[in-house]
């Protein structure tokens, strides 16, 4: 197996927690209502989109780092073990 590159980019997965949990007290005070939607709700919906983007980015960086070849090796190993 080739040496795997760093998976430090997976720490990006903390961003959704900072957005959707950490920022709650701050955004709760915002009075604006984009499209009439209360701002705290709008913020949480943006957080959902952000999460998909973040996970997508991590997925791509994982692929570039060769993490999936590792996964696929697992599949092969398991298949051999079962047959």
């Amino acid at each position: 197996m080739a040496a795997r590159r760093s998976l430090a980019h997976r720490w990006l997965l903390i961003l959704p927690f900072l957005w959707q949990v950490g920022a709650v007290p701050l955004v709760n005070e915002v009075q604006a209502a984009p499209l009439h939607i209360p701002f705290p709700m709008f913020w949480q919906m943006l957080g959902v989109v952000l999460t998909s983007v973040v996970i997508g980015v991590v997925y791509r960086l994982d692929r570039a780092a060769g993490a999936f070849e590792h996964d696929d090796a697992e599949v092969d190993a398991a298949a051999e073990g079962q047959d």
């Binding site: 997965l13 959707q20 949990v21 709760n28 009439h36 919906m45 959902v48 989109v49 998909s52 996964d71």
Partner: protein, 495 residues
Amino acid sequence: MALGIAVAIVLATVLGAIAYGRRTAARPTMAGWAVGGRRFGPVLFWFMNAGEIYTIFALLGISGYAYALGAPAYLAFTSVSLSYALGYWLMPKIWQAGRRHDLLTQPDFFAARYDAPWLGVVTGVVGIAALVVYVQIQLVSLRLIVDIALGDVLPEWAAVAIGAALMLAFVMTVGLRSAAFSAAVKDVLVVVLVVGLAVTVASRVGAASMLDVFRLVEERHPGIGSLPGLQPEAHTDSVWLMTSALTVALGNWVFPHLFQMSFSARSATAIRRNAVWQPLYSLSYFFIVLLGFAALLAGVQPTQSNANDALVQLVATTYPPWAVGVFAGTSFLLALAPGSVLLLTVGSIFARNVLRPLRPALTDRGALQASRVAMVVLAGVAVWLTLGDDASLVQILLYAYAAIGMLAPGVFLAFLWRRTTAIGVLAGIVVGFVALLAPFASNLWAVALPNWEPGLIAMAIAAVVTVAVSMLTRPPKAAAVAVGMPTPAVAETAR
């Protein structure tokens, strides 16, 4: 007419699901029945995931909370995205352990990783208890739907029992594949239904447009759009939302049925790809919150103080019978498919992890039968718990997450810290439940950490105790540790 349409939708889906399950699964084995033969490709796995997350709780629980409290319903927007941000890292690890060591259930994992069959029994019992609380959500909802479809003619116990009986009948037929099929059908139906209701509701409640509902509801009920919402005495402030969101995210994959869902995937890459897209589906909660606000504007009168039936009443009073029929049929599937997966999990854990260690001579066929008996008995327990319970669906959900949170330290540390021991995990579970359930503890949290979700406090205490006791006890064997934290050398040996 409403009843006819509802029955037609449910029957067509159930028959389709049975046919699909029969066609694709030849022999009834425990593995085929419980984890779909570990062959779910991306499409089926996606629907399995979606089916698990978009339960009847989403439809009735969130709209009911939006109706009764307002902003606290935003908790829904955090649940799916945060679970998958965590799941992207966690689920492939669970999958890998299952694949390598032929694990079928979550207690299998505990027993193997901590080299302690008795821990499998303990965690099996805790998991079953948490799932039975979760099944209540489906039963409370089914009862409301039975009432709307039949016109409130049945006593409460009969409506709840009918719901439980149908769930059992459904799951007895073929197992996970059927559930995945009906999950797919109802996922499509529920999106059509929710969007359909959301775009037509404005004019029925006196708003100029869909978005105008938000303006109008804030005008008539100032403060509904931000925390703590309409009932400050409900303690649903920012701290409540933050701690509840973390409790749900950390507890989600610890639920036995969701933990085991990772086993049913074909590959770790399928799991990761799924995690990218799954959060976006939770944007549909926008429509459900909207419908809760619309119910408030319409001035509907829920029959219960918990407002679980706010949306049911809105549909029943402002829409034509055919729409009520579609709503009832879809809602029924929404409770039926996930509910049957919960029961399936309960049954397989009981037979495999509670009964088998006590009666090693049990055959595979015997185990299948024992699991079916267990499902009937535990569905009965869930019915009993449901009767007379007046909690809101969100509250029941948080109870279930608090209970399963006691297993969270054992799951996470299994992949993070070699030194974690079986005794440590047991001590964490015991002390955690005391911190969750003992009256003196509840009183303490209410004073020291007001508005915190008690489940998160108890989970943190369980984690600390698990670490402390683990340091004082002998670590498991290297081969057992490798179930959660494989080293390259061990991986080679496994090949």
